[in-house]
């Protein structure tokens, strides 16, 4: 079985940092900002043509936009909606499809997705939709690839999604929202490792406990 990690991700600063922290090969997904369906389809078909099924034991998917600003849904124009809500759902579906092919037998897939805690979700309606889609895509892979020993899980982080439309009333937890290197990547590594060999189709909130506030 291959003994390496593949990161399928967008070219944003956090994803670059993640690639370094995981010492992963990096398969770059077309920009979410461009919302270019043709580029994404070329990317999908290109990977299919490569004959790389089962190329990596561990696959992490992280499609993070360069930046985002909270805004009420009723104030979003169509272009903002497309870039923040609709196109990322499509891109996540493509990337997770590639992950399901790339992951080797007995391997593991982790989707690392930005999702605000429920209490902070106002202003982040597109991102909440994308986050749930990514989690359920991981569950679909857990089911479809489970017979060959593949596990698939999701890790959520609110790392860049604080400060929503409604001010969070409860006090913020210590270390919230966390950083990639100290609070988040460890959860990814754990789920990729054999220590988590009984864990699949799950979601781990790497949010310092904010989800339950």
């Amino acid at each position: 079985m291959p003994n390496d990690t593949l990161l399928i991700g967008t070219a944003s600063d956090p994803v670059r940092q993640l690639a370094g922290l995981l010492e992963a090969d990096w398969l770059e997904v077309p920009s979410l900002e461009a919302a270019d369906g043709e580029a994404l389809e070329r990317f999908r078909q290109g990977d299919q043509a490569e004959g790389v099924e089962g190329s990596h034991a561990r696959v992490v998917v992280a499609l993070w936009a360069e930046s985002a600003t909270p805004a009420p849904l009723i104030e979003l124009d169509d272009d903002s909606w497309l870039r923040r809500g609709e196109f990322p759902v499509i891109a996540w579906s493509v990337a997770m499809g590639i992950a399901s092919r790339r992951v080797a037998d007995d391997g593991a897939v982790v989707a690392l997705v930005e999702v605000p805690a429920p209490i902070d979700s106002g202003g982040w309606t597109p991102e909440c939709g994308v986050g749930e889609a990514a989690i359920v895509l991981a569950r679909s892979i857990a089911q479809s690839e489970g017979a060959r020993g593949v596990r698939a899980n999701a890790v959520t982080t609110p790392m860049r999604l604080g400060g929503g439309v409604l001010a969070p009333a409860p006090a913020l937890p210590q270390r919230y929202p966390g950083t990639l290197d100290r609070e988040i990547v460890g959860a990814v590594r754990m789920l990729l490792s054999d220590d988590a060999r009984g864990v699949t189709a799950g979601v781990t909130h790497a949010d310092c406990g904010r989800t339950l506030r």
């Binding site: 299919q48 499809g97 909440c128 089911q143």
Partner: protein
Amino acid sequence: MSSPVIVITGASGGVGRGIALCCGRAGWTVWIAARREAEGTAVAQEVDREGGQGRFVVCDASDRASIEASVAEVVARDGRLDGFVHNATSGLSPQPVRLADVSVAALRDHAGVSVRGSFLAAQAAYPHLVESHGSLLLLTSEAGFEGKVRLAPYAAVKAAQRGMVRALAREWGPAGVRVNAIAPLAGSPAMDKALAADPELGPRVFGRNPLGRVGDAVEDIGTTVRFLLSQEARYVTGHTIPVDGGSCAVS
């Protein structure tokens, strides 16, 4: 208060029709917002026969101009909007496919109807729902909780709707507007197609159902939607409620 006025997208058949008939039985005014005029008009007439006021308006739920025109017509004729139910889904929803093989064009179709449709419905309905202290309701699926082996694109967009509901409830709560979703398991033409396309789907879905039957679109699904749209549910918001006979134990 006069009887509620609601809109249901994709209600020319299946679960949407069941919701329409159930609300019609309570004397509500029910707008069938769908692309298929003949079938939609027929359902509107069924609503009349059930005791409600059935109306039809042509609507493509993935198109801004169409959905805005639909809402405008409703408010112009009936003067209010108390509930908007986004039920329409892509025609590709029941087609089995490996996630790795699904094209971007197909994914855009899924997302256009379910996810963009939710966004457009929310923007078009919001000012009227503020006036009526009404509610928005999205139709999602158990697939949107747990994923599906061969319906992963459908599951993804249904999950996205759940996430949108959670966030929108926070945004709209201060204005007195509620946002919820249901995840039904009901007999419908789409389910029939999915079952026919995947012989393993039936045993998977029904083999774990504590009540041992598929839901009825009127008596099981429609009644839950009618409750959620009514003032009886005025303290319920931000939730996705499985209406599935206990199949998907995730709540």
